[in-house]
Every structure is written in C-alpha cells, then in structure tokens.
Symmetry: C2
Subunit: 466 residues, 2 copies
Amino acid sequence: MDTSARKYGRVDDAFVGELAAIVGKDKVSTSDSVCQQHGQDESYHPNMPPDVVIFPQSTEQVSAVVKACAAKSIPVIPFGAGTSLEGHVAATHGGVSIDLSEMNAILEVHNEDLDVVVQPGVRRMQLNAHLRDTGLFFPVDPGADASIGGMVATRASGTNTVRYGAMRENVMALQVVLADGRIIRTSSRAKKSAAGYDLTHLFIGSEGTLGVITEITLKLYGIPEAVSSAVCPFPSVDNAVNTVIATIQSGVPVARIEFLDDASMDSVNSYSKLNYTVAPTLFFEFHGSEAGVAEQAEMVSEIAAEYGGTNFQWATKQEDRDRLWHARHNAYYAARSRHPGTKGVIGDACVPISRLAEAITIAKMDMDQTPIPTYIVGHVGDGNFHTLYMIDPDDPSQEKEAKKSVERTVKMAISMGGTCTGEHGVGMGKIDYLRDEHGDAIDVMSSIKVALDPLNIMNPDKVVLV
Amino acid sequence: MDTSARKYGRVDDAFVGELAAIVGKDKVSTSDSVCQQHGQDESYHPNMPPDVVIFPQSTEQVSAVVKACAAKSIPVIPFGAGTSLEGHVAATHGGVSIDLSEMNAILEVHNEDLDVVVQPGVRRMQLNAHLRDTGLFFPVDPGADASIGGMVATRASGTNTVRYGAMRENVMALQVVLADGRIIRTSSRAKKSAAGYDLTHLFIGSEGTLGVITEITLKLYGIPEAVSSAVCPFPSVDNAVNTVIATIQSGVPVARIEFLDDASMDSVNSYSKLNYTVAPTLFFEFHGSEAGVAEQAEMVSEIAAEYGGTNFQWATKQEDRDRLWHARHNAYYAARSRHPGTKGVIGDACVPISRLAEAITIAKMDMDQTPIPTYIVGHVGDGNFHTLYMIDPDDPSQEKEAKKSVERTVKMAISMGGTCTGEHGVGMGKIDYLRDEHGDAIDVMSSIKVALDPLNIMNPDKVVLV
C-alpha cells in the first residue's frame, strides 16, 4: 500500500463547509457511525472510514465535489450499496466518500430499443420491479441487491451470465465525472460503434479509480415466454462439474447453471428452511419459448443422467422458482448465519471450462486441510467458482490461513489460463496477484491511471498502485 | 491533419538495413509497387504509401522493429488485408508498414473451451475452413475476407452481429506490441474476469494507434444444427425497415437480417447473375435446432406479412444459402463493377433501432438529390446502414458532394443518439465527426494515446489527433 499519505490534503472544517455549499448541509455527514458504515463492505477487509460522507443529488454536484477535492488533493471514494467484497470502499487515506444512493432515478426506459438509462444508485431489484410492466428485464444478477453503479464499477456478473453476459456485455454507455471534475459521455445508444477508443469498457471494472460513474445506459431483454428451473444433486463434485462442462459444450443456451457443494446445501437448507438433498448440487434455469425450454430441459436432463444426476426437482411456477433462487442467492448469508460472528474471505477464481473439474477438485482438497468452515459455490457455466472461508475476525491466524489458501487457488487458476477474480474485482484483496496474472500489462494500466488521475485521488490503493 | 512532419525520423538506407537485420532481407521491400499497394485501402481515400514495407514472422520481430522505429521516431502502420474503408493504412508521414499477412498461423484450437488462438494475418475464411471439422465456427463476418488482426483493430462486425455480437463481443484476449516495443497480454482465456482495467477492449478498435496486435484469442460457437435463409422483397423501404424493428423487438434470435435497397438489388442481380425482385429487400438467416429454426422462421414470416413482405424465397441447402449470402456480400463490389472506374465513399451510420426507418428515409432523400449513383445496404438488425456513393475519382466535386451528404447523415445519426461509424472505424474518414459525437471524451482518448504512444509513431493521424 502507498503510505505517502502526506501527498493528500486534509479534510478540515473549512473543506466540509465547501462540500456543504455544493450539496447542501443535510447531505454531508462527518458522524462516526456514518463514516464507519462507509468504510466497510460485506467481507473481512478492515474498516477504513472516510473523513466525510456526502449524498449528492446530481451529476453537477458530483462534478463540483470532485473539483473541490482535486484542488486540495483529497481522496474521493465512490460508494454504491456497500455490497462489494474486496475492500473497494475502504478509505485508505481518508477523504470524501461519495454515497450515490440518492441518485437513484430510472431516467428513461426505451422499450423499443431494449435499453434503459439509470442513475448509479438504482438497485438491481428496484430496476426489475420498475420494468415489470414493460415485459423487459435486466438480467445481470450478482445475488446481492447491489447498486447498478457499483455493478458497473466492479464488472459484476453472477447467475444469468452464461446466457446474457456480465456487466461487460450489458452496459452500452456511461456518463462519468473525471478526476478533475470534467463530465464526459463514453458512448451513444447505438447498438454498436467503431468510433474511437472504447471508454465504456475502460470504466467498467475501474472500481472508482478513474472517475465517478453518474449515469448508465443498460441493455434490456424481453422477459422469456417460458422459464423453468431445476435442482439436481450429484454423487460427487466431479460428476456435477462434468455435467456443466458437457452442457456448455453442447451449446444448450442454458440461462443459469450454478453449483453448490454439500456444505453449502446443508447451510442453505437450515437458513432457508428447505430440505434439499445434502450433496454436490446444480441449480439450472432455462429461458425461451415453451417448446424451446422443453427441448433444453430434455437435453440437459440427458446429460446429467450420464453423470448420475437423475433426481431433478423442477420448478416452473414463479413462487417455486423464486424460493429456489432465493436459496441460491443467500448461500453466503446462510454460511454467515451458520457461523455467527464470522466474516468471509472469498476466493473468486475463473478458469477455462475444460479445467473446471480439476480446479474445483484441487481447491476443495486444499480447503479440506484447514479447520476453518469452508464452502464452495459457483457460477460454473462461466468457469467461475467461489471458495468461501468463514473466519473468526478475532483470530488473525485464521485470516492468514484463509488468504494463503485463496492465494494457492489463484495461482492454480492463473496457471490454467484463468483469472484471480471472475467478478468480485480487485479492490485491495486481489491487488497482489495482478502482476502474476497480467505481467507488464500492469504498467499499461498504471500509465492510464496516471494519465487520467495524475493526483491519484480517485479511490487510491485499489486496482493499481501508482 | 498534423503537419509537423519534422518531428518524425527519416527512413534512410541505414534504417532499412536495420529492419533487414531483424526480419531478413527478403522480408523488406522499398519497391514503389509494394509501397503503393500498402498505402491504399478499398475506398476513395488517397494513396499515401509508406517508405518501406516489412513482412515479420514473429511477435519478437514486430517488437524489435517497433523498438527500432521508436528509437528514431519513425511511424509504424500495421497492415492486415487492406480491406478497410477509411484510409486506415495511409502512411501520412511515410514510415514503416508492418504487413502481418505472413503471421497467419492458427495456433491453438480449444474445442472444449470454444475458443481459438490465432495470429493477426489469419483471414476470416481461412479460419472457418480450418475449423470446419471441429463443428465450431467464428461468426463475425464483415463481408470482405479481412484479416482477424484488422477486424480487431477496426472493431469490425457485419452480418451475424445481431445474434453473435461484433468483434467487441468476441475477442477474449490479445497479445500486443506497444509503441516502445514491449510485449503484453491483455487478458486470459477465462470467460470473464474483473481483474483490472479492460485493456482488451482498449485495443479493439484502436486502429493501430496504440500498438500492433500480434495474437488474438477468439470465442467460437457450435455450428448450428439447422440453418435456414430467406430473401423477401417489400413494397417500400419503410415496410422493410419496420419489419426489422418489429422482429428485433419481438426477441426472435435471428442470426442475420440485412437490408438492400432497390438499386443494390439491381446491381447484385447483374453482378451475381441472379433474378431477385428489384425492390427494397431483406435477407434473413435463422440458426438453431430444427424446431427452433422453424419456429423463428414462422414468427418472422408473420411479422413480414404485416408489412407487405409475403414473397419469401427460402434457401435451406448449403449451396443455395451460399449463393444468397455471396450475393449480399458482394453488394459493394457489384456497385463498383456497375460503375467501372469509380471509387466508393461510404457512410456507416448506426442509430437506435426505433429511429432506423426515419434515418434511412431521410438519408435516401438526401442521396436522391445527387446525380452520383448511390446505394443503401445495411446490417439493419443492429440499426447500422451504409450509404454508398460511387464517385468518379477524377471529378473532385463528386467526392466533395458525397462527403457532404455523408456528413449530413452522420449528424442526423448523432442527433438520434447514434454513431458516425457502426463498424468501419474512424481512420481519416470519420475523424472530423468524433468531437460532435463524443464531446470532451475525445480529450480522454487523446490522454490515453499520449500516455501509451508519447512519440505519436503508431499510425499517426488516425482516430485522434494529438
């Protein structure tokens, strides 16, 4: 971590007054509890509170705040819903947390063009509730009810990615406030463009280190005519994962294909009051026409049967499907609730699908060596799996041991042509692995960071160290 | 255009000797004919030959050549197949053209992971011929038998994009030689990643201005079980385009949906010896299972019938489909052959699909004002259409008039929330419109260009002027 804190300006009363003049006095807080709440995400990373939190109401206010920060070299940390997992919101040098939750308007729904323009504070579930009557939906679903701005900033994905793509594939254009306060638009609403460098993708996954995202244009999809979900236990991890590999290679356009290991199924059963078989399990979802869904389901059933997955439990009614996916989405919270007082250290490796069975098997053997309670879940249709360690925050040896295990999994994934993070982002938690993964390309990332944020005020100590 | 030519070094005999020492004497040419051939694409842009052309055999050779160029501030222009349309290959300050056509190996096919690693000189048709026995294919199809490197560099798309996406969606990772000769890899073979800035997308569409692409990992798809194509004439442009809009909005996963106006159909008939009805026409293709294709075809037939498109001509046999798409792909060459000695000035607007009928109607009215022969074709499923003006290269007033008409179409597209170029790229031809489209975001592009190519040796005077 960059410890040259001296280069940053101090947030004093006069500066807080400047901020209040921009956003209004009631939209500025220096209270301990508010600052603490903004220095912490949902993971094990230590709480590093900002000096002040502001709640802007417009892009122009964000721009004025960033300008004021730039003038005094004060760090700026954008904050969405706080559901990130790699310490993205930690204010390593204090500064101003820009909480975008009050910029949560859905600005324009273009039914005919299948797109929507939203402010960054809009939550995923809020968006889909708003869209329901239009017959359209936004598919990217990381589980948590994250803000759209945060999902863009971390290049989130989750279930549904195997069919609809991640944020990377579903953001058409952004409005961004740069590190000097300038406001830009990265692209248009055209479905494709070859007009210059792809700034949209540069800001997707930039984790607040290049600018503050203040408006987002997203792709939408028609709600499928038919949807069908299923849960199926397997005799082993290997059998489950080989079913995934065969399904993807067969080209069946499955919408979701999720893996939970036996430990996860057990805690999900307790937490969500269900009675699924405690075994390595796949959760499926199929989207399409009535005939298409039936055809997909039949093909996948046949593949699963070859690997001993014969006990499909189908859910076609909305409420049954909701219960099923609710259980899947709450796997992390289920694990936390099973081990009260623990925090999660979470691996997020992603490998080419041909290596997935091997990767999960090796990771599981590694995890089985530790006395820490561990779980594996994964968006396995993409080759992405999470290794979850529920650590006692008062026992530093547990954090150390969990992180060492994550590191071994990361190195394995990279050696297989994979990545250290499929969807959680770098934050502070994965920063040490980036050179292993990218080599000298890190220096290109640093050059871009320096070019766009010469004072290094935008979310410092995340993604790249400069 | 930047006229400060003095800042560039001279290609003298000693420097040509340096290049020969790197790539071998027989892989360097300073002959007039070779240099002329490398200063010209397939459009109206003036021939601006490089001083020397080299034919490297490896990434290491490219790196050594770029290093040598950087040491003397000599421009570097990457060259693929020369099929671009906006003057991308013009050597505005002379320098070294790096012809990558001999780096044309297909390095690795990963059947199980649905990806392939290729060198940049591999041609689109070569790749699909190579893949045929694997049951996989690469869908991006700009018509011309372009090089994969060139398709990445210009963010190409074409037919099939409506279903499979453009190059933007289908490149997983790149190896790139930077402006100082460093070699980087932008990403891994993982299907998704949140590990740092998205350098892959930064280089896609960078048109040789940030580095030389020397290796490409592409997504592949299973060859669909069933494919069916159809041609259908419509009573008016409006009826045809409204059929497209309704089809896209219905969510039918059509693989191709292409528009040709009556003039294009007439020249296609002559050129390809066919007898299609001379009317505004849509070309369709459907991919899927037997049942899926039948379902899609039926839905689209119903939509088309509502707009007067009742005379579908179906092609399901491979040879019939090939003839149909061959005709479509040769629309530009058909126009050129109908007006011998002419060159094409080509518009490439792309608008949100809801505005497409209006945009094409206005563009056609504008084109009808000029005595120059004009044509409209389009990848209309994406909202992308080409306005084609066959100009007499000896009559400067025609070039001027055609470019003015293109400019009006560009401004209309931008005012509709669209883009000045859907797929051809900026080159020299669209550079004047970028600020209209992107505003201050251009300055961000310039900052990135300066950060990664401080000497401005990489394909100068393209995309952004610095």
